[in-house]
Amino acid sequence: MLNNSLLKGTLNTLILKLLADNGQMYGYEIIQRIKESSDDALLITEGALYPALHRLEQQGLLNIDLRTVSGRQRKYYALSAKGKLRSGESLMELAQFLGAIHNIIKPKTS
Protein backbone atom coordinates (compact mmCIF):
# COMPACT_ATOMS: atom_id res chain seq x y z
CA MET A 1 0.00 0.00 0.00
CA LEU A 2 1.29 3.45 -0.93
CA ASN A 3 1.63 6.39 1.42
CA ASN A 4 -1.84 7.96 1.67
CA SER A 5 -0.51 11.52 1.77
CA LEU A 6 0.55 11.05 -1.87
CA LEU A 7 -3.04 10.31 -2.72
CA LYS A 8 -4.58 13.35 -1.02
CA GLY A 9 -4.00 15.89 -3.77
CA THR A 10 -5.13 13.55 -6.51
CA LEU A 11 -8.31 12.14 -4.99
CA ASN A 12 -10.65 14.62 -6.69
CA THR A 13 -9.07 13.92 -10.08
CA LEU A 14 -9.39 10.17 -9.57
CA ILE A 15 -13.07 10.53 -8.67
CA LEU A 16 -13.76 12.74 -11.70
CA LYS A 17 -11.90 10.33 -14.00
CA LEU A 18 -13.78 7.28 -12.69
CA LEU A 19 -17.13 9.01 -13.13
CA ALA A 20 -16.15 10.17 -16.62
CA ASP A 21 -15.37 6.55 -17.55
CA ASN A 22 -18.24 4.81 -15.78
CA GLY A 23 -21.11 7.29 -15.82
CA GLN A 24 -22.88 6.80 -12.50
CA MET A 25 -21.23 5.31 -9.42
CA TYR A 26 -21.93 5.15 -5.67
CA GLY A 27 -19.42 5.70 -2.86
CA TYR A 28 -18.61 2.10 -2.01
CA GLU A 29 -18.24 1.26 -5.69
CA ILE A 30 -15.71 4.08 -6.20
CA ILE A 31 -13.57 2.82 -3.31
CA GLN A 32 -13.61 -0.74 -4.61
CA ARG A 33 -12.84 0.36 -8.17
CA ILE A 34 -9.81 2.42 -7.08
CA LYS A 35 -8.60 -0.48 -4.94
CA GLU A 36 -8.99 -3.03 -7.77
CA SER A 37 -7.59 -0.81 -10.54
CA SER A 38 -4.49 -0.03 -8.50
CA ASP A 39 -3.95 -3.69 -7.46
CA ASP A 40 -4.57 -2.73 -3.82
CA ALA A 41 -1.83 -0.08 -3.93
CA LEU A 42 -4.26 2.80 -3.37
CA LEU A 43 -6.55 2.34 -0.39
CA ILE A 44 -8.93 5.23 0.13
CA THR A 45 -10.70 5.46 3.45
CA GLU A 46 -14.39 6.20 3.33
CA GLY A 47 -13.79 9.04 5.78
CA ALA A 48 -11.78 10.73 3.01
CA LEU A 49 -13.89 9.74 0.01
CA TYR A 50 -17.33 10.95 1.11
CA PRO A 51 -16.23 14.46 2.18
CA ALA A 52 -14.44 14.73 -1.20
CA LEU A 53 -17.59 13.63 -3.04
CA HIS A 54 -19.69 16.12 -1.09
CA ARG A 55 -17.24 18.95 -1.81
CA LEU A 56 -17.37 18.17 -5.54
CA GLU A 57 -21.17 18.08 -5.28
CA GLN A 58 -21.17 21.51 -3.60
CA GLN A 59 -18.94 22.89 -6.35
CA GLY A 60 -21.55 21.80 -8.87
CA LEU A 61 -19.25 19.24 -10.50
CA LEU A 62 -21.45 16.25 -9.65
CA ASN A 63 -25.12 15.43 -10.11
CA ILE A 64 -26.93 13.21 -7.64
CA ASP A 65 -29.48 10.50 -8.25
CA LEU A 66 -31.15 8.78 -5.29
CA ARG A 67 -32.49 5.26 -5.86
CA THR A 68 -33.91 2.62 -3.59
CA VAL A 69 -31.79 -0.54 -3.75
CA SER A 70 -32.44 -3.63 -1.66
CA GLY A 71 -34.54 -1.78 0.92
CA ARG A 72 -32.22 1.20 1.35
CA GLN A 73 -31.53 4.47 -0.38
CA ARG A 74 -28.44 4.62 -2.59
CA LYS A 75 -26.85 7.86 -3.76
CA TYR A 76 -25.40 7.71 -7.27
CA TYR A 77 -22.91 10.33 -8.39
CA ALA A 78 -22.42 11.42 -12.01
CA LEU A 79 -20.52 14.25 -13.66
CA SER A 80 -22.44 17.45 -14.36
CA ALA A 81 -21.67 19.45 -17.51
CA LYS A 82 -19.29 21.58 -15.43
CA GLY A 83 -17.79 18.40 -13.96
CA LYS A 84 -17.09 16.97 -17.43
CA LEU A 85 -15.10 20.08 -18.32
CA ARG A 86 -13.27 20.05 -14.99
CA SER A 87 -12.46 16.35 -15.37
CA GLY A 88 -10.50 16.96 -18.59
CA GLU A 89 -8.64 19.94 -17.13
CA SER A 90 -7.90 18.11 -13.94
CA LEU A 91 -6.43 15.11 -15.78
CA MET A 92 -4.20 17.36 -17.84
CA GLU A 93 -2.94 19.11 -14.69
CA LEU A 94 -2.26 15.75 -13.06
CA ALA A 95 -0.37 14.49 -16.13
CA GLN A 96 1.78 17.65 -16.11
CA PHE A 97 2.39 17.27 -12.39
CA LEU A 98 3.38 13.61 -12.71
CA GLY A 99 5.67 14.49 -15.66
CA ALA A 100 7.38 17.16 -13.58
CA ILE A 101 7.83 14.79 -10.64
CA HIS A 102 9.20 12.15 -12.99
CA ASN A 103 11.73 14.63 -14.38
CA ILE A 104 12.96 15.34 -10.86
CA ILE A 105 13.14 11.73 -9.78
CA LYS A 106 14.67 10.46 -12.98
CA PRO A 107 16.41 13.41 -14.62
CA LYS A 108 17.24 13.06 -18.29
CA THR A 109 20.95 12.40 -18.76
CA SER A 110 22.44 14.66 -21.41
Binding site: Y28, T45, E46, G47, H54, V69, R72, Q73
Partner: protein, 213 residues
Protein backbone atom coordinates in the same frame (compact mmCIF):
# COMPACT_ATOMS: atom_id res chain seq x y z
CA UNK B 1 -31.02 -6.72 3.02
CA UNK B 2 -33.77 -7.22 5.59
CA UNK B 3 -35.37 -4.18 7.30
CA UNK B 4 -34.23 -5.58 10.68
CA UNK B 5 -30.61 -5.46 9.56
CA UNK B 6 -30.99 -1.94 8.21
CA UNK B 7 -32.49 -0.91 11.56
CA UNK B 8 -29.53 -2.55 13.30
CA UNK B 9 -27.10 -0.57 11.11
CA UNK B 10 -29.01 2.64 11.84
CA UNK B 11 -28.81 1.90 15.57
CA UNK B 12 -25.08 1.15 15.30
CA UNK B 13 -24.48 4.47 13.54
CA UNK B 14 -26.51 6.35 16.14
CA UNK B 15 -24.54 4.76 18.98
CA UNK B 16 -21.36 5.88 17.23
CA UNK B 17 -22.43 9.52 17.00
CA UNK B 18 -24.18 9.65 13.61
CA UNK B 19 -27.55 10.70 14.98
CA UNK B 20 -29.47 12.33 12.17
CA UNK B 21 -31.36 10.60 9.39
CA UNK B 22 -30.07 12.85 6.59
CA UNK B 23 -26.45 12.24 7.67
CA UNK B 24 -27.04 8.50 8.11
CA UNK B 25 -28.74 7.98 4.72
CA UNK B 26 -25.61 7.45 2.59
CA UNK B 27 -23.74 5.64 5.38
CA UNK B 28 -26.49 3.07 5.75
CA UNK B 29 -26.09 2.03 2.11
CA UNK B 30 -22.32 2.04 2.49
CA UNK B 31 -22.37 -0.18 5.59
CA UNK B 32 -25.04 -2.47 4.15
CA UNK B 33 -22.99 -2.97 0.95
CA UNK B 34 -19.82 -3.54 2.99
CA UNK B 35 -21.60 -6.13 5.17
CA UNK B 36 -23.01 -7.91 2.09
CA UNK B 37 -19.55 -8.03 0.52
CA UNK B 38 -17.92 -9.29 3.72
CA UNK B 39 -20.54 -12.06 3.95
CA UNK B 40 -19.97 -13.00 0.29
CA UNK B 41 -16.21 -13.21 0.84
CA UNK B 42 -16.52 -15.09 4.13
CA UNK B 43 -19.89 -16.82 4.71
CA UNK B 44 -18.79 -17.70 8.27
CA UNK B 45 -18.59 -14.08 9.38
CA UNK B 46 -21.34 -12.84 11.72
CA UNK B 47 -23.37 -9.70 10.99
CA UNK B 48 -21.81 -7.93 13.98
CA UNK B 49 -18.27 -8.80 12.91
CA UNK B 50 -18.98 -7.62 9.37
CA UNK B 51 -20.36 -4.35 10.73
CA UNK B 52 -17.29 -3.76 12.91
CA UNK B 53 -15.05 -4.55 9.92
CA UNK B 54 -16.91 -1.96 7.84
CA UNK B 55 -16.55 0.58 10.64
CA UNK B 56 -12.80 -0.05 10.86
CA UNK B 57 -12.35 0.41 7.13
CA UNK B 58 -14.27 3.67 7.44
CA UNK B 59 -11.50 4.95 9.66
CA UNK B 60 -13.25 4.26 12.99
CA UNK B 61 -14.35 7.26 15.08
CA UNK B 62 -11.99 9.57 13.18
CA UNK B 63 -13.65 8.59 9.91
CA UNK B 64 -17.08 9.35 11.34
CA UNK B 65 -15.83 12.70 12.71
CA UNK B 66 -14.57 13.75 9.27
CA UNK B 67 -17.81 12.62 7.67
CA UNK B 68 -19.97 14.53 10.17
CA UNK B 69 -17.83 17.67 9.81
CA UNK B 70 -18.25 17.55 6.03
CA UNK B 71 -21.99 16.99 6.42
CA UNK B 72 -22.20 19.95 8.81
CA UNK B 73 -20.48 22.36 6.41
CA UNK B 74 -22.71 21.09 3.59
CA UNK B 75 -25.85 21.60 5.65
CA UNK B 76 -24.82 25.10 6.79
CA UNK B 77 -24.14 26.09 3.20
CA UNK B 78 -27.57 24.80 2.20
CA UNK B 79 -29.25 26.82 4.98
CA UNK B 80 -27.52 30.04 3.95
CA UNK B 81 -28.48 29.34 0.35
CA UNK B 82 -32.11 29.04 1.46
CA UNK B 83 -31.97 32.21 3.60
CA UNK B 84 -30.21 34.18 0.84
CA UNK B 85 -32.71 32.84 -1.69
CA UNK B 86 -35.60 34.21 0.38
CA UNK B 87 -33.84 37.55 0.95
CA UNK B 88 -33.01 37.88 -2.75
CA UNK B 89 -36.66 37.35 -3.57
CA UNK B 90 -37.35 40.66 -1.85
CA UNK B 91 -35.31 42.40 -4.53
CA UNK B 92 -37.47 40.92 -7.30
CA UNK B 93 -40.96 41.76 -8.39
CA UNK B 94 -43.59 41.37 -6.88
CA UNK B 95 -41.84 40.98 -3.46
CA UNK B 96 -39.83 44.12 -4.15
CA UNK B 97 -43.05 46.05 -3.64
CA UNK B 98 -43.15 44.74 -0.04
CA UNK B 99 -39.50 45.77 0.50
CA UNK B 100 -40.25 49.32 -0.68
CA UNK B 101 -43.36 49.50 1.54
CA UNK B 102 -41.42 48.20 4.56
CA UNK B 103 -38.65 50.75 3.87
CA UNK B 104 -41.12 53.65 3.60
CA UNK B 105 -42.95 52.50 6.71
CA UNK B 106 -39.76 52.36 8.78
CA UNK B 107 -38.49 55.68 7.38
CA UNK B 108 -41.73 57.28 8.51
CA UNK B 109 -41.61 55.63 11.96
CA UNK B 110 -37.94 56.52 12.55
CA UNK B 111 -38.57 60.13 11.51
CA UNK B 112 -41.71 60.65 13.58
CA UNK B 113 -41.62 58.27 16.55
CA UNK B 114 -39.22 58.83 19.45
CA UNK B 115 -39.62 55.16 20.53
CA UNK B 116 -37.98 53.59 17.52
CA UNK B 117 -35.28 51.83 19.58
CA UNK B 118 -37.99 50.29 21.76
CA UNK B 119 -39.72 49.22 18.57
CA UNK B 120 -36.49 47.69 17.32
CA UNK B 121 -36.16 45.86 20.64
CA UNK B 122 -39.72 44.59 20.30
CA UNK B 123 -38.94 43.35 16.76
CA UNK B 124 -35.86 41.48 17.94
CA UNK B 125 -37.86 40.03 20.84
CA UNK B 126 -40.54 38.73 18.45
CA UNK B 127 -37.81 37.19 16.27
CA UNK B 128 -36.20 35.67 19.38
CA UNK B 129 -39.51 34.15 20.49
CA UNK B 130 -40.11 32.80 16.96
CA UNK B 131 -36.61 31.25 16.96
CA UNK B 132 -37.02 29.71 20.42
CA UNK B 133 -40.43 28.34 19.39
CA UNK B 134 -38.89 26.93 16.19
CA UNK B 135 -36.09 25.27 18.15
CA UNK B 136 -38.59 23.81 20.62
CA UNK B 137 -40.72 22.47 17.75
CA UNK B 138 -37.64 20.77 16.30
CA UNK B 139 -36.48 19.24 19.62
CA UNK B 140 -37.27 15.66 18.53
CA UNK B 141 -36.46 16.24 14.87
CA UNK B 142 -34.25 13.59 13.35
CA UNK B 143 -32.86 15.75 10.55
CA UNK B 144 -29.58 17.61 10.69
CA UNK B 145 -30.70 20.22 8.15
CA UNK B 146 -33.77 21.12 10.20
CA UNK B 147 -31.83 21.24 13.48
CA UNK B 148 -29.17 23.51 12.04
CA UNK B 149 -31.73 25.83 10.48
CA UNK B 150 -32.61 26.83 14.06
CA UNK B 151 -28.94 27.69 14.68
CA UNK B 152 -28.83 29.83 11.52
CA UNK B 153 -31.58 32.01 12.95
CA UNK B 154 -29.51 32.25 16.14
CA UNK B 155 -26.66 33.80 14.11
CA UNK B 156 -29.02 36.27 12.48
CA UNK B 157 -30.29 37.22 15.95
CA UNK B 158 -26.72 37.69 17.16
CA UNK B 159 -26.15 40.20 14.34
CA UNK B 160 -29.36 42.00 15.19
CA UNK B 161 -28.28 42.30 18.84
CA UNK B 162 -24.78 43.35 17.86
CA UNK B 163 -25.58 46.00 15.23
CA UNK B 164 -27.61 48.35 17.48
CA UNK B 165 -24.57 48.75 19.74
CA UNK B 166 -22.72 50.43 16.90
CA UNK B 167 -22.33 54.22 17.23
CA UNK B 168 -23.36 54.91 13.61
CA UNK B 169 -26.94 54.09 14.56
CA UNK B 170 -27.34 56.74 17.22
CA UNK B 171 -28.24 60.38 16.87
CA UNK B 172 -30.69 62.20 14.69
CA UNK B 173 -28.27 62.93 11.87
CA UNK B 174 -29.49 62.16 8.40
CA UNK B 175 -27.23 59.12 7.77
CA UNK B 176 -28.32 57.59 11.10
CA UNK B 177 -31.97 57.77 10.03
CA UNK B 178 -31.09 55.94 6.81
CA UNK B 179 -29.11 53.28 8.70
CA UNK B 180 -32.00 52.79 11.13
CA UNK B 181 -34.50 52.54 8.28
CA UNK B 182 -32.30 50.00 6.47
CA UNK B 183 -31.81 47.99 9.67
CA UNK B 184 -35.51 47.88 10.56
CA UNK B 185 -36.39 46.92 6.99
CA UNK B 186 -33.78 44.14 7.08
CA UNK B 187 -35.24 42.99 10.42
CA UNK B 188 -38.70 42.77 8.84
CA UNK B 189 -37.32 40.79 5.88
CA UNK B 190 -35.34 38.47 8.17
CA UNK B 191 -38.46 37.85 10.21
CA UNK B 192 -40.29 36.69 7.09
CA UNK B 193 -37.22 34.69 5.99
CA UNK B 194 -37.15 32.95 9.40
CA UNK B 195 -40.79 31.97 8.99
CA UNK B 196 -40.24 30.75 5.43
CA UNK B 197 -37.04 28.86 6.31
CA UNK B 198 -38.92 26.20 8.29
CA UNK B 199 -41.25 25.55 5.33
CA UNK B 200 -38.34 25.46 2.87
CA UNK B 201 -36.38 23.03 5.05
CA UNK B 202 -39.46 20.80 5.32
CA UNK B 203 -39.90 20.86 1.50
CA UNK B 204 -36.21 20.09 0.97
CA UNK B 205 -36.36 17.18 3.42
CA UNK B 206 -39.55 15.86 1.87
CA UNK B 207 -38.07 15.90 -1.64
CA UNK B 208 -34.89 14.11 -0.50
CA UNK B 209 -36.38 11.65 1.97
CA UNK B 210 -40.04 11.12 1.01
CA UNK B 211 -40.11 7.83 2.93
CA UNK B 212 -39.85 9.49 6.36
CA UNK B 213 -40.82 13.14 5.90
Amino acid sequence: MSPERITAIRRYLRINGVKYYDVQAELIDHFATAVENAERENPEISFKEALIKAHRSFGGKEGFRKYIEAAESRVLKKIWQLVCGVLLQFLKWPYFFFTVCAGLFWYYIVGTTPFYLEMYGAGVLILLIATVYNTWKLRDCNFFLAKRSGNAMGWILYLLFYIPGQPFLFGNSHPAVWYQTALFTLLSLLFIASLKLTTLVKQETKSLYPEVA
